[in-house]
């Protein structure tokens, strides 16, 4: 019993250290990649290839002056970054990184809950309390706007996200992440059968992690730096940390739910596909690259369009996907899963074709004449 607790603690410390190192180097990789996307060189001065840049950044942010606004609610102002980072870090513990017993005879995950997916969804959305409380306690208006935007956005997109995994859960019949991965190893990866859910889940993951094109809570032009405006020094760094860790977690969840998780491709043979860590890490790296790539490409959405997109597109599409999967389970219980696959591919193609012409893009804003017009 004691060894179990110790081992779990050890694994938890390992996960936290790993996540924080990844965060540190993600900042460098993101800056380098963004620079290359913009035909620049990026930071390459500190150490060879700029590899010591994260160290320099860490030292800088620790030793910067830590300002607290007079009007701020001191306790909550202090608490907010810790809530954000704690929730971000604890969510990742549920991600399985390999088959049971593959880490020197131990299980390569910190905890394996039967409600694993639910736990991740719950914890990552608890993270918004950090952002919201930061905005509220800052005692100035732009952080408050940023915090409010963030909570409104996350509530809206959480619906789409939650609904898009429902169909998947109906197919696998389990919320346990290891169970979902094993189901995928047996039947084929879920991106094939739940293509629509995959699309809606990825889009809402971008919104959940406050990444471009949904990074409205930090929109510089409108809100200075949003909920981060009054933060400085290490507390600011903690928020950055939480944002990046959320991004890593989102990548891990997308990989686990839709892309076979820690299992490698089946045609490489069972032993290679069962090697722990590398397959999950490769998939996470791919998704992190996509996060950066999207940031390098897409402009920020307007806030009303963001809400409109969440409520009028993502939510109904995810709901219809759930209904379609439920209908499949109810009326064609023993038929091939490929019917579902063909269906979702067709729907995705239809969405792509009609995306350029649909009416939901037109904003029907009732305008009224301003005085003097």
């Amino acid at each position: 019993m004691l060894t179990d607790i110790l081992l779990t603690l050890l694994k938890a410390v390992g996960v936290v250290l790993g996540l924080l190192t990844t965060f540190a180097y993600m900042t460098l990789i993101e800056r380098r990649l963004l620079a290359r996307f913009q035909i620049r060189a990026g930071p390459n001065r500190v150490g060879p290839l700029g590899l010591l840049q994260p160290v320099a950044d860490a030292i800088k942010s620790i030793f910067k002056e830590d300002l607290v606004v007079t009007a701020a609610d001191k306790i909550i102002f202090w608490l907010a970054p810790f809530i954000a980072i704690t929730m971000a870090l604890s969510a990742f513990g549920a991600i399985p990184a390999g088959p049971a017993g593959s880490l020197f005879g131990q299980d390569p995950w910190v905890f394996n809950l039967d409600i694993g997916l639910l736990f991740i969804l719950a914890t990552t959305s608890m993270g918004v309390y950090g952002i919201f409380l930061a905005g509220w306690s800052s005692g100035s208006k732009y952080p408050l706007f940023g915090g409010l935007r963030s909570s409104a956005q996350i509530i809206s997109y959480e619906l789409g996200q939650g609904l898009s995994v429902l169909g998947l859960l109906m197919l696998t019949g389990t919320m346990n992440l290891v169970g979902i991965v094993n189901w995928q190893a047996e039947h084929g990866i879920l991106i094939l059968f739940q293509g629509v859910a995959f699309v809606t889940f990825v889009i809402s993951s971008f919104a959940e992690t406050n990444r471009t094109p949904f990074d409205l809570p930090e929109a510089e032009q409108e809100l200075v730096a949003g909920y981060l405006t009054e933060y400085s020094s290490i507390k600011w760094a903690l928020f950055q940390m939480a944002e990046y860790v959320n991004m890593i977690t989102a990548s891990a969840v997308i990989s686990t739910l839709f892309m076979g998780g820690f299992k490698g491709p089946a045609f490489l043979g069972e032993t290679i596909a069962n090697i722990p860590f590398i397959w999950l890490f490769a998939k996470i790296a791919l998704w992190l690259f996509i996060f950066i790539w999207v940031r390098a490409t897409l402009p920020r959405m307007r806030y009303d369009k963001l809400q409109q997109f969440g409520w009028k597109f993502l939510f109904p599409v995810a709901l219809m996907n759930t209904l379609a999967t439920a209908a499949y389970k109810a009326f064609l219980p023993n038929s091939s899963l490929w019917y579902l696959g063909i269906f979702s591919v067709l729907v995705v193609i239809a969405m792509i074709v009609f995306s350029g012409s649909r009416d939901w893009q037109k904003v029907d804003v009732k305008t009224r004449a301003v005085a003097g017009d």
Partner: protein
């Protein structure tokens, strides 16, 4: 904006990822300046080695930043530095004040002061940013800190840029290189004057 347009945009950025960055890694690779780039001033000489500057202070009057200080002295038969009646005994430009606008060059009636291309003048002391005649006379290469560094390491001055100088600058430099080492004559005076070849002979 449809998905296809977004995909097109993503394709554009992905293509840029694999192109060579346009960044110039400046200290390692030299910066390529435009010919008209206005940098540190050059005080030019006539072909016979006499300074063009006649100490009229028009540059100082034209200077919007009040960066130029000129003190004039009479040319005597034994001490003839310029081609006119007077020469500049002190000619200083404060490089911290100078905005490199080129008004001095426009104001100069003899074309004595022109703006060259050197810009790497970062230094440690404020006093060292005041450049005298000996720092700017044509033929001097590099800024004060660069020449100090070169003297310390007994190496030639290393400039961090490449440039094709504009016509005026190139002519001034070439005229200085090609001028006759023989005794020059002041037109009309008939007096033979030895040109000032060595920098340290310039009177302060």
């Amino acid at each position: 904006m449809g998905v296809l347009e977004i995909a097109k945009g993503m394709g554009v950025t992905l293509g840029k990822l694999f192109t060579k960055p346009v960044t110039v890694s400046y200290p390692e690779t030299p910066a390529r300046l435009q010919p008209r780039y206005r940098g540190r001033h050059i005080l030019t000489r006539h072909a016979n080695g006499l300074e063009k500057c006649i100490g009229c202070s028009l540059c100082a009057a034209a200077c919007p930043a009040y960066a130029i200080y000129v003190e004039a002295a009479e040319n005597t038969p034994t001490n003839t530095l310029s081609a006119g009646e007077r020469h500049a005994s002190v000619y200083e430009i404060n490089m911290l004040r100078c905005i490199f606008c080129g008004m001095c060059e426009e104001a100069c009636p003899t074309g004595a002061v022109i703006l060259g291309n050197e810009f790497e003048m970062a230094d440690y002391k404020t006093r060292d940013m005041v450049y005298g005649k000996e720092d700017m006379i044509v033929g001097v290469e590099g800024s004060k800190p660069q020449r100090r560094e070169a003297a310390k390491n007994t190496k030639p001055v290393k400039r961090g840029f490449v440039v094709t100088p504009r016509r005026e600058v190139e002519e001034a430099i070439n005229a200085n290189k090609n001028r006759s080492s023989s005794v020059a004559t002041i037109p009309g005076s008939g007096v033979g004057v030895k040109p000032n070849l060595e920098l340290n002979e310039v009177k302060r």
